[in-house]
Amino acid sequence: MSAGLRTLVALALVARAASGQDPRLAQRLDKPTYVAVNAIVDSARVAKLPTAPLVDKALEGAAKGSDGQKIVSAVHLLSVRMAASRRALGSNATGDEIKAAATALGAGLSARDLARIRTASGKRPVAMPLAVAIDLIGRDVPVATATSLVIQLERSGVKDADFALFQRNVRADIDRGADPTVAATTRARGLVLRSGSAAPKPSE
């Protein structure tokens, strides 16, 4: 690509950013929905929240053939959850953490749960622990148990790779017929013992 063309592309990107538009939204949404979604995205940008998950949520709705009102409601709800997530996790939370935390709120965790997970993790990122909590809840582990187990694992200093291993093992146990809560609690206890800390309780 020539320097001139690159410059034009960069300028076009800046111009597009300045106008707060994502070309995919214009292609896939009707005009009123597009305007409403753009307004929410612009507000999120001003509030320094990640905008990609909002665009993604709108695209998901368009792909599923949802009506404009439903799409705008879903995008707005996600922006509210992301704002709550950042308040719970702190202003230094990354985009990935905010996105995961917003999904966790949607899965049933509370803002207080998010704050507890953040406190337990110290300075370590919480995107993976939250993803594991969401996964456990999706596999029918009660929200309180999933939250408690993740907090215990965080307090034990478990790293992301071990969280991933824990999630794989729980999934394998459930696939073999184990009760989801028992599988998650047992696997978490084993991981904590291996880390040299006290065994986790099913709920805190």
Binding site: A10, L13, A17, K64, L77, D96, A161
Partner: protein, 196 residues
């Protein structure tokens, strides 16, 4: 005093009272002499700058001057473009950072669905903008009604689904479902690990 003397005086006085007629050529000679006197340096410069003159430029000199102007203009434009490009890149990058861009780490993930009657199966998710026409996420029939595709997915937690025959949304039966009632159609969840 004699009368003759008085008459002479009167004549002399009359003659002296007559206006002096200066020769025109004398005037010009005097002014030429004055103009030929050496001037002050600043006056000379001012004279050179303000006196209109005709300048003759050869085609060679004209061409060289034009080439120089063109060269300077081109250098200026190139520098301006580079500066704009440099300035625009981080702005665009910061404002348009998507999860994929933010986490350049991606892993190949195999998606499998058993759909014996399907004519077409695609994977959609938050990693490809929920675009069922995305080329990299079109599943291939492997025989026995098994469809699969191996495609890059960024590290992290993602939601996805299968789209069968461009119309039917099917959650991955081997993955947990995401509690997401926004649009009323099921999604599956996947956690992609960083194998670093």
């Amino acid at each position: 005093m004699r009368d003759d003397d008085i008459v002479n005086f009167d004549e002399i006085a009359r003659e002296l009272r007559k206006p002096v007629r200066v020769n025109r050529s004398f005037n010009e000679r005097v002014m030429d002499s004055v103009l030929r006197l050496p001037r002050h340096a600043r006056a000379r410069l001012w004279k050179r700058l303000t006196t209109p003159r005709t300048v003759t430029i050869t085609p060679l000199v004209w061409g060289l001057a034009a080439a120089s102007l063109l060269l300077f203009a081109s250098l200026g434009v190139i520098h301006a473009k580079e500066d704009l490009h440099r300035a625009a890149q981080p702005i665009a990058k910061a404002l348009f950072a998507t999860p994929v861009a933010a986490t350049s780490r991606a892993q190949s993930v195999q998606f499998v669905l058993v759909a014996p009657d399907a004519k077409k199966v695609a994977v959609v998710g938050d990693f490809n903008g929920w675009d069922a026409s995305h080329v990299a996420y079109q599943a291939q029939q492997r025989g026995g009604g098994v469809w699969s595709v191996t495609a890059p997915v960024p590290v992290g937690h993602h939601r996805y689904s299968f789209v069968v025959d461009d119309s039917l949304w099917v959650a991955d039966p081997t993955a947990p479902r995401v509690i997401d009632t926004d649009y009323g159609l099921p999604n599956s969840a996947i956690v992609v690990e960083d194998d670093k």
